[in-house]
């Protein structure tokens, strides 16, 4: 009791460290036991399955991004984990303990809502303190922890502000602080930045990543934006039609999307389905000229017959000003980040994007060829395939 400035007694495992959050215990470096495990989870509404036999696991201290298009069931999964939605089957467990019979208010998971869901009749301080009050934390400690948390999210001294006066970014920070201050076992964030403008979005994203890493907070971050997912997460769970399609690191997903749907959803480039039967051991005849697939992708899904594989042509594959090549018409010249991208049209082929010099103009003709290092062989997607056959 003669240490008025620190809260809970520091654990002997934890050497005191510099940095602002004095009382927020960082999770131990390598936590024993597992984190969240979801097995065969099925959630139904009105007779149709929103989630079907879904499996997912999140390690302690890990930030997992749940990435998928609108309507794929991300929010439903999050609400089911939080205990706000009852599953029809399967299990959600934390550290090996089944959570099915644990109501939402006893799970001690934190949830950040897309629309913040700040209590309008309470000020910022009372909103952040709400969870601590529910835990019957005494008022002095409550005040101190709220102040520290607000400091951490960059809203120092905001306690007495009315939530109605907050900007979108501030409200989002308050919502985050409210969830984090209770030291939840698992933080669930449902598209928390979807409504923010780009600069604010990027700044907040970096801040949240820093705070979560500092606290070694286990977190699931839901988003439909792959750049956001890649920026914040250690691992990304790609979700499609109520199932986890694939879980991988951002790097793995980008370098080897494995199938056409993933590559399309991540916006990695143009998908081309070989038509003629000329695909054999890695030599391909394409509308952009002959292509020798690099050894790294050869031996991937068998290239023995066309139809069950396709090619991802990334912008960096498209090379200009080669002596050999095909003639292509340029359209849609646009600035992307610090580079310029144009779309190239070749007869009997889908348009492909490639990087061009800043002076390119629509309508001009260029000679292009494909560099194998920018081409990745993928499994074609059943859905895509049928669409293609209908078109032909």
């Amino acid at each position: 009791m003669n240490e008025p400035t620190t809260g809970p007694a520091p654990s002997p495992l934890e050497p005191p460290e510099p940095g602002p959050p004095s009382s927020f215990r960082r999770r131990p470096e390598s936590s024993p036991g597992e984190g969240l495990t979801i097995r065969d989870l099925t959630v139904s509404l009105g007779g149709s399955d929103l989630l079907a036999d879904l499996d997912l696991s999140v390690r302690r201290g890990e930030i997992l991004a749940l990435l998928g298009p609108s309507g794929c069931g991300k929010t439903t999964l999050l609400r089911t984990i939080a205990g706000l939605q009852a599953p029809a089957g399967g299990s959600v467990s934390w550290a090996g303990e089944d959570q099915r019979s644990v109501p939402a208010h006893r799970r001690r998971f934190g949830l950040v809502f897309q629309d913040h869901a700040l209590l309008p009749h309470r000020n910022v301080g009372a909103n952040v303190a709400f969870g601590l009050r529910m835990q019957k934390i005494p008022a002095p400690e409550r005040r101190r922890r709220v102040a520290e948390m607000l400091h951490m999210v960059g809203l120092e001294g905001y306690e007495r502000r009315s939530v109605a006066t907050l900007s979108g970014g501030e409200a989002q920070r308050v919502a985050l602080a409210r969830a984090l201050v209770t030291e939840p076992k698992l933080l669930l964030a449902d598209e928390p930045f979807a409504a923010l403008d780009r600069p604010l979005h990027d700044r907040l994203l970096a801040d949240v990543r820093r705070i979560l890493t500092e606290l070694r907070q286990t977190a699931i971050h839901v988003t439909h934006d792959h750049t956001e997912a890649f920026a914040i997460a250690d691992r990304v769970a790609l979700m499609r039609d109520g199932r986890i399609h694939r879980t991988a690191t951002p790097q793995q997903l980008r370098d080897d999307p494995q199938d056409a749907w993933t590559a399309t959803f991540l916006g990695l480039g143009t998908i081309w389905y070989p038509t003629g039967g000329a695909a054999t051991t890695g030599e391909l005849d394409t509308p952009w000229g002959p292509l020798t697939l690099p050894p790294s992708t050869a031996g991937k899904p068998t290239a023995s017959s066309s139809g069950d594989f396709c090619l991802l042509i990334r912008p960096e594959a498209v090379r200009l000003h080669r002596p050999a090549g095909v003639s292509a018409t340029v359209s849609d010249v646009r600035v992307a980040g610090d580079r310029t991208i144009a779309t190239f049209h070749v007869p009997a082929a889908p348009p492909v994007d490639g990087y061009v010099a800043a002076g390119a103009t629509p309508g001009q003709t260029s000679t292009i060829s494909l560099d194998p290092s920018g081409v990745t062989m993928l499994r074609s997607d059943a859905a895509q395939l049928s669409v293609r056959f209908v078109h032909e």
Partner: protein
């Protein structure tokens, strides 16, 4: 999961028991009594009953028609023109609706007295019709204007482009589109007029009797409960037919309109200004004149302006003969009754609203509807039923102080439910979920989230319950103890006394009741949810 579903039902148990014992049980008592007595058919066959039924019906028709004629032009102007003070006019038009019937009757007595018309019009149907117009003018004008202002003007513009004259447009397009709104409010106003009690008792005199006044006369004055019960059954049947008929008509006439926000346009040109001035003039005359005359009359005694009438109230007034108690005691009784009734109605209404908000749509509507039934039943039937059945153990409440506040709470509770339920429905489920995830049990969520956010609705409902209790006359006339009169009862007794002094005092008391009611209504408008600072 199971406990969460059971909880709402448990919440409603207390108010359900309250309604069951003090509303349904008396209602059943009336039915049983009317069948048991054996005089049912004799009463119904009596030609006097036929006369009463006929008068009840035609005065209700005439009043409703007259109200429509006076109020629809006002509705048109309020709906179509935007002018400074429009919202204030809307707000002021609520006042007549919440005024006690006794005050309105007194206002019309003073109006007739002022212009020397008392001899010709007192105890005639004209005075009754005029008072009914006063009461319902605002009801019609406000509700039709609210609907009208949300109608998309495009069909009218299309008709005009197609060559229809403005009059033709109104008749062929606007009026049919307004029909559902006009029909709905007409049915409600007809119901009010059909079950009108205080106005008819005071302005109609002995020769003008409706079903409700006859029930009171037989039950309270002549103690012929069997006849009163037979008339009550007749009244209930009429109201039932009316409600069912109106509902069926409305379902048939339903028009799927895509409602817009206010489509009124700014006042421009002298034609608009004349129209507006005329409308405001009519509103002022219909609503303002009787009240002004009431205040004026209360300040007149012995031919001069004086505070004599009020002074006499303070000195005990006509206490020995008419009231048994001083007028000031009546004010105290009214305030005590109103406070108690408001407390009961607020707690009960809040519990019902919480129970309703925890349910799915269909169940919720049915549950809410069940608790709103007392609002559709005339206060006279309510009072008569209580008088009839609450006279034997274990519920021998004849002499109990509680009978009046209980009756008032029954009438006030629907107002609380109607103002709290929308407030609760507006609470985003996200907020409840946010609180739950942060560790709040379901009961705690209600206390921390729903309750504070519904507070304004609750305050409004409580204000209405209070105002309604202050002015309640129909039910009170049955269950009140002679030695504990409320202000409306005291006014009624004073009006029954001969002499200028008693009349003057009745006017003074009416003004006091008017001020008390107006203050309650103003408080409704002022109350805001308490700010946020319990950190």
């Amino acid at each position: 999961m199971r406990s969460r579903r059971l909880a709402p039902a448990a919440l409603a148990a207390l108010p359900a028991a309250f309604i069951g014992i003090f509303f349904l049980y008396p209602l059943v008592g009336v039915l049983v009594r009317s069948f048991d007595a054996g005089t049912l058919l004799a009463t119904w066959r009596n030609p006097i009953t036929a006369d009463v039924l006929w008068f009840t019906t035609w005065q209700a028709f005439a009043s409703t028609g007259l109200c429509l004629v006076v109020a629809l032009p006002t509705a048109a102007v309020l709906a179509r023109l935007r002018f400074r003070g429009r919202r204030l006019v809307h707000a002021l038009l609520v006042v007549p609706f919440v005024l006690p019937t006794v005050v309105v009757a007194a206002a019309f007595l003073s109006l007739m007295d002022r212009f020397g018309l008392a001899d010709r019009f007192h105890h005639t149907v004209w005075a009754i019709l005029a008072a009914h117009v006063f009461f319902n003018y605002a009801v019609i004008a406000r509700s039709v204007a609210a609907y009208w202002s949300q109608l998309d003007p495009a069909p009218e513009q299309a008709a005009a482009v197609l060559g229809a004259s403005p009059l033709r447009v109104f008749g062929a397009v606007t009026l049919p589109r307004l029909a559902p709104a006009i029909g709905a409010v007409s049915a409600i106003v007809f119901l009010f007029n059909f079950t009108s009690f205080g106005v008819i008792l005071i302005l109609g005199g002995p020769r003008r009797a409706t079903l409700d006044t006859e029930i009171w006369r037989f039950a309270v004055q002549r103690l012929e409960f069997d006849t009163a019960a037979a008339l009550a059954l007749l009244q209930l049947l009429c109201v039932l037919v009316l409600v069912v008929g109106a509902t069926l008509w409305q379902r048939r006439r339903h028009i799927a309109e895509r409602l817009r926000t206010d489509t009124a346009r700014r006042v421009r040109g002298s034609a608009d200004r004349v129209l507006l001035a005329g409308t405001l003039g009519v509103a002022a005359a219909v609503v303002g004149l009787p009240l002004a005359m009431l205040v004026e009359r209360s300040l007149r005694s012995g031919g001069t302006y004086t505070l004599e009438n009020y002074r006499r109230l303070g000195q005990g007034g006509e206490r020995l003969q008419a009231l048994f108690v001083s007028p000031l005691a009546a004010i105290r009784h009214s305030l005590e009754f109103a406070a108690t009734a408001t407390a009961i109605a607020t707690v009960g209404g809040l519990l019902v609203a919480l129970a309703v908000s925890g349910r799915r749509k269909r169940g919720a509507a049915a549950l809410e509807g069940a608790f709103l039934v007392p609002l559709g039943t005339s206060a006279v039937i309510l009072g008569f039923g209580m008088l009839l059945v609450l006279d034997r153990p274990p519920l021998d409440l004849r002499l109990s102080w509680w009978l009046v506040p209980i009756a008032h709470a029954l009438i006030g509770m629907p107002f609380v439910i109607r103002s709290v339920t929308p407030a609760l429905a507006a609470v985003s489920p996200r907020l409840r979920e946010a609180a739950a995830v942060l560790g709040a049990r379901p009961a705690r969520v209600r206390r921390e989230v729903d309750l504070p956010l519904a507070l304004r609705g609750l305050a409004v409902g409580a204000g209405f319950a209070f105002a309604v209790s202050l002015g309640e006359f129909g039910a009170t006339a049955f269950v009140v103890r002679p030695e504990r009169p409320t202000v409306p009862i005291a006014i009624f007794r004073l009006l029954g006394r001969p002499g200028e002094a008693a009349f003057g005092q009745a006017m003074a008391m009416s003004v006091i009741l008017l001020v008390m009611t107006a203050m309650a209504v103003l408080a409704i408008d002022r109350l805001r949810p308490a700010g946020a600072a319990d950190f």
